[in-house]
Amino acid sequence: MKRIFYTGIFFLIILVLLNVSCKKEFLDQKPTSALTEADYFKNIGELETGLIACYAALGPLVGFETDLWGCGDIGSDDADKGSTADDQYDLTDISYSRQNSTNSWSPGLWWDCYLIIAKCNKVIEKSSVVAGDTLEKRKIVNQAKYLRAICYYHLVTSYGDVPLVNKFLNPDELNLKRAPVADVWRQIESDLIEATDLPSKSEWGDKGIGRVTSGAALSMLGKVYLTEEKYELANNAFYQVVNSGLYSLEDDFGFIFRHNGQNCDESIFEIQHKNEIANGSLCSWTSSFRMPRDNGAGGWGFDTPTQDLFNEFEEGDPRIIYTFMFRGDVFPIDENNNYTVENSYSLSGFGCRKAWIPWSQRSGVNADFNNWEINWRYMRYAEVLLLYAESLNEMNKPDSALTLLNMVRERARKTPTTDPERISCSFTLARPNPLLPVVTTTDQTLLKHAIWHEQRVELAIEGLRRNYLLRTGRFKERMEIAKQYAGVLVQSYQLLLPVPIQEINVSNGLITQNPGY
């Protein structure tokens, strides 16, 4: 009897349990805190969020911007690595052009660019399945195309042949080889041409500050054509920028790099940063990396300008004090305290003024001293003018070239000789007469050198120099002169950076190393 009772209970339990646990849904669990891809990118608003992620990949923490000054300045005659010997040791090798295939710094640009490219590809791909206004979709796609193009521009100039990825690849499609340089340039051109269709700066309006404009696309397109020595096309592109009337040189060179100079009239494209109160930080590390590594300064002391760069400046050029920090300069901390520059760990003794953040702008809730609200000036109007001048000169139009060149010099001349953010400057500007004389030569070679000179002093320590040297074939000569103290000897293969060794290994040899490494 008892046993029958227990058997009954047993079957009852079994029935209840099976009922509870055997439900089919029991094994179906959906991801938490994330959407599935199948449920997303269905309308224009969602596509736009994908685009925001592309922009966002330009700016976070360390990454793209750091690659730009790391290779662009330090890997050129403009700057030394700076900082302590151990900090980013491998960057020293890039600085002295003795990097080898295992250099830990050289892959950074590759990685960061392809991360951005993949995000852009996703947006471009998804645009075809998203419902909505074609025009709006095209705006989104063309912004992504510009971002993709600038990434390829940095890839092709740094590594030569690179894999050309123009769609989002599934894991089983990842068997690309390096595409020839010519194919990459073609892709860059075509993306930029499409991006010229974007709204202009004025069409975007204030709400669109920070977005890619048609002007940004044209400027970049001009630079690309110039690099490819397609001068007529370059002129055409630059002409449109200059004639749009949307850009002008600021009167004060120093203003451009100040906090209120962000997105100024001279700005063509800037990577945006913002000190957010509620949501952590969209700040930039690029300044704290590059400010003096002095007790009291708050920087890590990288990217220190060379003596050679200093020597490039003409006597009395006011831009010098907005480019360099000198030992003994005094900056205010607050009402009672000052900071005197030491430029510790700078071989030349110079520091990088364009990265300097005054204390008055350091406040804010993200008081972490690595994080400041400073936009990266990716391209500005002065560069367009000087590139245009170079291109015109190549087309043997010295008069037009001179006009543009002298516009830039004129602005430099007008720039105040006292830095309002310094208490005192230990460097005394000479007062030559004439100051920065108007260039008049129409000799093509002389003018070319004058333009190159102007490009260097105007755009110093803005992450551009290495590509300027490579484009004009002066890299070896300049590096060996500027960094003679370190015994720099450039081998021809070192004009290109090594392809990341991880990339070669993971491709099982499909991706090859640049010869020489």
Binding site: K2, I13, L17, S21, C22, Q29, T32, L35, T36, E37, A38, D39, T49, G50, I52, A53, Y55, A56, L61, G63, A85, D86, Y89, T92, R98, N100, S101, T102, Y114, L115, I117, A118, N121, K122, P163, V165, P171, L174, I209, Q272, H273, K274, I277, N279, G280, L282, D294, G296, A297, Y345, S346, V365, A367, D368, F369, A486, P500, E503, V506, N508
Partner: protein, 1050 residues
């Protein structure tokens, strides 16, 4: 009244009879070992119910006053079965005592049931409570270390409360290799959620069974692939309540730290590096390089020389490391029971202090196990373990690591007059900072405020009903729960512009993992003649929920302890968190069949469904079978009269098991999130000063992803000789992992960052191995001794990798087909160029100088492919993190009341990639250096042919991954030594206790190794697995412990 008189009468008569018996009437005899025939001295002989007794002499002989007819004479001796003789006026009694052995009758837990050890067909190893007690282990893993062949336990850190890593039978997958644990039937996977095995107090364990081969594991289906460790906790038994108290006190000291440079050497080292760097870039320069030139090129050198002139030297090890830190452990157990109820309750307290101030671990544990017989057919009960533990700052290895690299010329503290003692932040501000970079390790310690508190619960309720005579139903509801609260506080302080926190940060992690596991099994056991059958059917379902939140907020006023709260903080609140649910359902069945105790069969199957996989891929079925043959029970064998062989059993099995231990739960679907996987940073951007939120594909799904399957074949033999005095078990296995789940590193041009790479069923791995354990127990005179040796070896080969068999390179390790997982890859060193001439002479086949950038003192790398350059193609396998052999041996000696236990454990043939040294080499120019690196460096022709010169410039790339950094990681360690004294019964009586034992001993007393780094045991622990065997030189070193202990039972 009548009966009392009768009793009295009887008593008196008996007494009279005894008194009137002739005094010389005695019994004599000899006691011998039943197998060896050797006489046994010291055997205690007593007459039951009387005070009469004697002991055998050295020849095993005895003389006993003859007891009354019908008395029971008892022969007893440690290590032998008790024997009784009915006295029937014999004059001579010769006795053969049989050595006590559990071997044949021992019962082994096999998962969802038990089995007689003699009936086992799979490979299962067992560790008993008494072995655990002698290891003074503080967690389960330590208790297992070196005891079981095929099971490798490696310490991850010497920090208090750190948990070792356990690997069973090699490396089955590049994914998760952690075994699962089944505690009184409740399955616990420490690699999931917040769980941590530290929760289990080793004092509570009655036995541990390790299921090593597939036929044993398959009953755990998809959870079994990395091995299953079954833990049974102690239970009460029928009898008076007993109370046992035990305690351990120990003192710990760090075993070893690599010597660092003194003041002079440090200065010389800095100058040497700079000078060599200068000469590298100025070939042909042959006069003394002026210091000023060196300083102008390397400003760090200038700061070092300035500091040097201040005449200060700080021995950072001395500043940071504490000596003789204490370790205490207390346990109090009460147990007992009646016919109807059994109970055991245990409370434990453990406190470990760290060798670094503010590092500590505490554990409070409680266990209550009870069971009740309700009527004839029902048993119900529960097992419950509840633990609270608290870890302080031992989540990282910071201070000791930074002490190794800290600037030796920096003072520890600021000059007294430069800091204000009354300032609230004095405790931070008082520390000095270095001019050449690098932190002050003391400041690191001061800033460390990480505290983790966990409340962990594992238990179950069970009921068992006998439905029919041979049919039992068992239901068990297991519960697991972990609440993990971790808090941290980063104070606000200002020492200098580079050493400051302008604002304080309060942060907190709250994690809750809980789950239930419902198991219902039917067991049918029947014996019919020679046939013995056990059949099991079961259904289980499982649910686990892991949720967490991380919060931080900044800007508390001051550093007041009572204001380290979110409410007191004012700035920048930040909150993240999520939850995830994993569910599983399983059907299982097993059949055990034995015929005539000779032919054994086990077959099992389990079908598992998991929420981790997509529709159509959720279910996996895992079958197994195994056979055994007890040769020694065969008639033909008995007829051979090979009496010295007491047991021969041959076993063989095959099975498939699964592994679903993906670190991500929804790998089958692509996800879009507001967090970029690349840096974990928000995907927001600014347009027109406004911030906009972006969304991006954060993980790439693999819709077809499914179970990783491990197929294993096992052949084993069990032998025993001399009535089991000598025993041997050997196993050979082949373990194939297929459809290995792996996050394959994809080319960067894919745009997937390494953390977002999709998981795929990516390859196959084969492990082949052998395991052997030999034990011997014997006795001479008063001395008993037991020795056991175990060893295991495995060979690991990747047999297939998806995506075109591309190798997987992570850091300096490569995983590729045909080789072992994660071997070290790099260049082979071929000595040091002694002269510039040597460089020019080192040519390729066509006469090209192979290392044109090299100079005297640089490393010569082998030109393995005999071409015109030394390049990537000359890389090769330069070492492997996997040992050729791991082994352990135990010696237990007993002499009268004393016992001695020695336990050694070791590893042979594994290499360590000394990544810490590599890091030092690349960091030349600032910070402390190891003495052996400076002293052994090349400094002129003939000075060294193995260590390159030290230079701030490394044009030759001396410090690329090469054999130079690979070292032999073999070691042998005296893990435990214990000398114990068991308080004799008569003293116990006086002390009013029933048992007592005191002991003294130590842990990690001796280590034999050639390894120069901190500790060779770093070998297999580094995670992720594909970077196994790296020594980052920043681990918290192991300690040597000297301890005393006491156990008393009332």
């Amino acid at each position: 009244m009548k009966s009392t008189t009768l009793l009295l009468f009887l008593f008196l008569t008996c007494n009279l009879v005894a008194r009137s018996a002739p005094q010389e009437k005695t019994v004599t005899g000899t006691v011998k070992d039943a197998i060896t025939g050797e006489p046994i001295p010291g055997v205690y002989i007593s007459v039951e119910g009387t005070q009469t007794g004697t002991v055998t002499d050295s020849g095993g002989n005895f003389i006993l006053s003859a007891p009354g007819k019908g008395a029971i004479i008892v022969f007893s001796f440690i290590g032998y079965d008790r024997q009784t003789v009915f006295y029937d006026n014999q004059i001579v009694i010769d006795i053969k005592l049989v050595q006590y052995t559990e071997f044949l009758s021992e019962v082994v837990v096999t998962g969802y049931g038990t089995q007689k050890k003699s009936d086992l067909t799979g490979s299962i190893s067992q560790v008993k409570a008494k072995d655990i007690e002698k290891s003074s282990a503080i967690n389960v893993e330590e208790a297992l270390q070196g005891k079981i062949p095929g099971l490798v336990v490696t310490s991850t850190s010497g920090a208090p409360g750190s948990e070792p890593v356990v690997r069973i039978r090699g490396i089955g997958t590049v994914n998760n290799n952690n075994p699962v644990y089944v505690i009184d039937g409740v399955l616990v996977d420490p690699s999931q959620g917040e769980f941590n095995l530290n929760f289990l107090n080793p004092n509570d364990i009655s036995s541990i069974e390790v299921l090593k081969d597939a036929s044993a594991q398959a009953i755990y289906g998809s959870r079994g692939a990395n091995g299953v460790i079954l833990i049974s906790t102690k239970k009460g038994s029928e009898g008076e309540p007993t109370l046992t108290f035990n305690t351990t006190f120990g003192f710990r000291n760090i075993i070893k730290l690599p010597a660092v440079l003194n003041r002079e050497d440090f200065k010389d080292y800095m100058i040497t590096c700079s000078k060599n760097g200068y000469l590298r870039t100025h070939p042909g320069y042959d006069s003394e390089v002026p210091l000023d030139t060196l300083i102008s090129l390397n400003p760090t050198l200038g700061y070092v020389l300035d500091e040097y002139n201040k005449n200060i030297y700080t021995d950072w090890y001395n500043e940071v490391i504490r000596k003789n830190v204490m370790n205490q452990n207390y346990n109090l157990t009460v147990k007992g029971g009646t016919k109807y109820a059994h109970y055991l309750a245990d409370i434990g307290y453990l406190n470990e202090d760290g060798a670094v101030n503010k590092f500590s671990y505490k554990r409070y544990s409680l266990r209550i196990n009870t069971d009740f017989n309700v009527g004839k057919y029902v048993t119900v009960g529960e097992n419950l373990g509840l633990t609270y533990d608290k870890r302080q700052n031992n989540d990282y290895n910071g201070p000791i690591g930074s002490a190794m690299g800290a600037d030796p010329l920096m003072p520890a503290y600021q000059p007294k007059d430069s800091v204000n003692v009354n300032d609230m932040n004095y405790i931070y501000d008082r520390y000095a900072v270095s001019e050449i970079g690098g932190a002050n390790p003391l400041l690191d310690i001061e800033l460390a405020n990480w505290v983790q508190s966990r409340l962990m619960l594992v238990g179950n309720l069970f009921g068992e009903i006998t439905l029919l005579k041979d049919l039992k139903f068992r239901t068990s509801l297991g519960l697991t729960g972990v609440y993990n609260h971790t808090s941290d506080y980063s104070p606000q302080f200002y020492i200098s512009s580079r050493y400051n926190h302008p604002v304080s940060t309060v942060s907190e992690h709250n994690g809750l993992s809980y789950g239930w596991l419902l198991e219902n099994t039917l067991t049918y056991a029947k014996k019919l003649g020679f046939h013995s059958l056990t059949a099991l059917l079961g259904f289980t379902s499982e649910y686990s929920d892991n949720s967490y939140s991380n919060a931080s907020k900044q800007g508390t006023p001051g550093n007041y302890p009572e204001l380290r709260t979110f409410d007191a903080a004012t700035l920048n609140p930040n909150l993240t968190g999520t939850f995830s649910v994993i569910t599983m359902m399983s059907y299982l069945g097993r059949l055990n069949y034995a015929f005539h105790d000779r032919y054994l069969l086990t077959a099992s199957v389990r079908s598992d469904g998991s929420s981790k996989f997509g529709i159509g891929h959720k279910w996996g079925t895992f079958p197994s079978f195994s056979l055994g043959w007890n040769v020694s029970n065969e008639d033909f064998f008995r007829n051979l009269k090979l009496d010295f062989i007491s047991n021969i059993k041959i076993r063989g099995g095959w099975g498939q098991i699964g592994n679903s231990s993906l670190p991500v739960n929804y790998a089958y679907v692509s996800q879009v999130s507001s967090n970029a996987p690349d840096w974990g940073y928000p995907t927001r951007y600014v347009f027109g000063g406004q911030v906009y939120q972006g969304y991006t594909v954060s993980t790439i799904g693999t819709p077809g992803i499914t179970w990783e399957t491990t197929q294993q074949t096992n052949i084993g033999i069990d032998l025993a000789f001399f009535r089991n005095a000598l025993s041997l078990t050997a196993d050979y296995y082949i373990k194939d992992t297929k459809d290995m789940l792996l996050q394959v590193p994809l080319p960067a041009y894919s745009g997937y960052s390494s953390s977002a790479s999709p998981y795929i069923n990516a390859g196959s791995v084969r492990n082949k191995g052998i395991e052997l354990i030999v034990g011997y127990t014997a006795k001479t005179g008063d001395l008993t001794y037991t020795a056991s040796v175990n060893g295991s070896a495995f060979r690991n080969r990747v047999t297939r990798l998806e995506m075109g068999n591309k190798p997987i390179d992570i850091a300096f390790s490569r995983t590729e087909v045909g080789k072992s997982i994660g071997y070290y890859r790099g260049w082979a060193v071929d000595g040091i160029f002694q002269t510039e001439e040597d460089v020019q002479k080192y040519k390729g086949p066509d006469g090209t100088v192979l290392q044109p950038n090299a100079h005297a003192g640089d490393i010569r790398f082998k030109n393995l492919n005999n071409d015109e350059t030394i390049n990537d193609a000359d890389q090769t396998m330069i070492g492997s993190p996997w040992p050729k052999l791991t082994y352990g041996f135990n010696i237990i000696l007993g002499y009268k009341a004393f016992d001695l236990t020695l336990f050694f454990q070791g590893s042979y043939g594994n290499d360590i990639f000394d990544i810490g040294m590599w890091r030092h080499m690349n960091f030349i120019g600032s910070g402390q250096e190891f003495e052996y690196i400076f002293k052994n460096a090349w400094n002129g022709s003939g000075s060294s042919n193995s260590n390159p010169l030290l230079s701030t410039v490394d044009v030759n790339n001396n410090y690329r991954a090469s054999t130079y950094f690979v070292e032999d990681g073999s070691y042998l360690r005296l893990k435990n030594l214990q000398i114990g004294y068991n308080i004799p019964k008569r003293i116990c009586g006086k002390l009013k206790i029933s048992n007592g034992r005191i002991w003294t001993g130590g842990t990690n007393l001796l280590t034999f190794t050639k390894y120069r780094g901190i500790d060779p045991e770093v070998g297999a622990n580094s995670t992720p697995l594909l970077e196994a065997g790296y020594d980052w030189n920043n681990m918290f070193p192991q300690s040597r412990e000297i301890s005393v202990g006491l156990t008393v039972t009332f």
